[in-house]
């Protein structure tokens, strides 16, 4: 496949990283090309590269400064990395349109777990039931992970449930499902946060003890489905049982 015609800019992120920016936007096609480059460069790293961080519309390359400096000759290590990235961006890109897994995630939208659902509904002139119906109506793309271990930025929600984030962060419980702007996400850990909380999942998005600590990865597809408080407790309890039986063996 030919390289897509997205224009880009490359700029330094401090003295030991460069960011390739495809345009400061939330766009599925741009995100697909960012992730495709990410998977390609993970397989075939740039010389001196230490880590790659994909985001909505950018890809950041961290590098080993002393190592790169040795090969850079008369130019700076940054200039050498930018040149290298520009060369590699000319390579054919193998777009991974559906690289991720499809996850159906249970969410309990009961007001006990949804401190902001009434406010969000009122701000959009709809009922809380409509908020739930709309939130569960779409398949979301995981655009990126960031902010907290395993925090997946997903989008985009129906504009009828979109709402700008809170001006001041408040304490948010782990596993809370929130909306900010046109994004939706799940807090993997207790944390301050500014997203509007409309429910909670009994699933663990992040568990340091698991072999794969993080459940969702960039490129995954996510659907939410509504569960009752009873279902919520049952799923939680069965997960606990599973953990303790694993502990026994």
């Amino acid at each position: 496949m030919n390289p897509p015609s997205f224009s880009y800019r490359i700029f330094p992120l401090g003295d030991s990283a460069i960011t390739i920016d495809f345009g400061n936007c939330i766009d599925e096609q741009i995100n697909i090309s960012v992730l495709s480059r990410f998977f390609q460069w993970e397989q075939h790293p740039l010389a001196g590269m230490t880590e790659l961080v994909p985001a909505y519309s950018s890809l950041t390359v961290y590098f080993d400064l002393p190592k790169v400096k040795k090969t850079a000759g008369n130019i700076t290590a940054i200039e050498w990395m930018i040149e290298q990235a520009e060369q590699r961006l000319k390579e054919n890109i193998f777009l991974q349109e559906t690289p991720g897994k499809m996850m159906r995630i249970p969410v309990c939208y009961d007001s006990e777990f949804a401190p902001d659902i009434f406010r969000l509904a009122a701000a959009n002139n709809i009922s809380p039931e409509e908020v739930i119906a709309l939130h569960t109506s779409k398949t979301y793309r995981v655009f990126m992970l960031g902010f907290l271990p395993g925090f997946a930025y997903m989008g985009q929600v129906d504009e009828k449930i979109a709402m700008p984030r809170k001006p001041q962060p408040v304490n948010v419980a782990a596993d809370s499902v929130g909306v900010a702007g046109s994004q939706t996400g799940i807090y993997p850990l207790d944390s301050p946060g500014g997203w509007h909380i409309i429910g909670r999942t009994p699933w663990k998005l992040f568990d340091a003890e698991r072999e794969e600590p993080v459940l969702l990865q960039a490129g995954d597809q996510v659907q939410f489905f509504s569960i009752s408080k009873n279902d919520f407790r049952e799923i939680q309890n069965s997960a606990l049982l599973k953990e303790s039986s694993q502990g026994d063996t």
Binding site: D15, L52, A55, I78, G146, P149, P213, Q217
Partner: protein
């Protein structure tokens, strides 16, 4: 072979060079705030440069050695004693079983490092010993050291001759303490141009106080607000140790070792890597001043530090061999 925490410090954690390769999952690198100091401590006891160390804030923990060991303390000077006798900073120190290491006064700096020859016998999480406080993983049970914790050591060590007094080995690392500790050199960030002309001037001409709301994640600065020309929102993208972000109220935050992997605030500058060490040794209440430099200088300063460390490692290996194998 172990050391025991007989009194907990305010925030002492196991750290190493950091956990890299997982930022795309939102898992931050953690690692020592002052890696340069960590490298020095490890060099003094003959460890691998990235071996796990204990990073201490003041007031620091009180340690009881359950076994003889070779240790070194670097970074901040908290006026350490062993069994009540002052112990030299930046020297290898040979301690005996039942020796008690404690720290009395913050003389200089914010973070001290304790390295022990052979390293700490703890398991890695995702390839690193570093404690990730947010994820509650890595290091010692994913948290700061607490009273009663016992950390096993990887290597046994003989008692000092006569087994009575601890011995300060007669050589010292040159810590190259910076001549202008408050001056942090930066490179302009991608959103530097968003600052008004006056804000740009204020950024370099005024000094910035590190507030109490500063920790391993970042330093919040108390500065006169720096207005920007645009408040156009940024979608989240990667941020790094040393990134200086402009908050909506015009205040600044410098991201440190436990920084978020991504962020959406304008990145107006980045502290150069060679100055991360001195930045990590600034305390709440300290003033810092930014000075804009260029990439080539940032690279050279970092390489000089690396060369200095390599020389130190070579010298230490030689001295330790001479001392113990005669």
């Amino acid at each position: 072979m172990s050391i025991q925490i007989i009194k907990a410090g305010i925030l002492d954690t196991v750290q190493d060079g950091g956990r890299f390769g997982y930022q795309h999952l939102g898992i931050n690198p953690s690692g020592a705030m002052d890696k340069y100091a960590m490298y020095i401590a490890n060099a003094l006891v003959g460890n691998h440069p990235e071996e796990a160390v204990i990073e201490m804030h003041f007031p620091a923990s009180v340690f009881l050695f359950g076994y003889p060991a070779l240790i070194a303390i670097s970074g901040a000077d908290f006026s350490a004693t062993i069994n009540g006798d002052p112990v030299a900073h930046l020297h290898p120190v040979w301690v005996n079983k039942n020796d008690v290491l404690q720290f009395h006064r913050p003389v200089y700096g914010a973070r001290a490092y304790l390295a022990i020859a052979g390293g700490l016998d703890i398991s890695k999480w995702l390839g690193s010993y570093s404690t990730n406080l947010k994820a509650k993983a890595g290091g010692c049970h994913g948290r700061n050291l607490q009273k009663g914790d016992e950390i096993l050591l990887c290597q046994s060590f003989p008692s000092t001759p006569g087994q009575s007094e601890f011995i300060v080995l007669p050589w010292k690392a040159d810590d190259q303490r910076e001549d202008i500790p408050n001056e942090i050199w930066v490179l302009p960030g991608h959103e530097w141009h968003r600052l008004t002309t006056e804000s740009k001037e204020n950024f370099t001409m005024t000094s910035f106080v590190i507030t109490q709301q500063s920790d391993r994640m970042g330093y919040r600065l108390n500065n006169i607000p720096l207005p920007a020309m645009t408040n156009e929102e940024l979608v989240s993208s990667a941020v790094s140790f040393g990134t200086v972000q402009l908050l909506p109220d015009g205040k600044l935050i410098i991201l440190m070792a436990d920084h978020q992997t991504t962020g959406g605030y304008p990145r107006i500058a980045h502290a150069i890597t060679a100055h991360h060490s001195k930045l990590a040794q600034r305390r709440a209440g300290d003033k810092i001043q930014f000075r804009i430099t260029e990439q080539a200088i940032a690279e050279n300063l970092y390489l000089q530090q690396q060369q200095h460390l390599q020389q130190l490692r070579n010298a230490c290996t030689f001295r330790l061999q001479q001392y113990f194998n005669g």
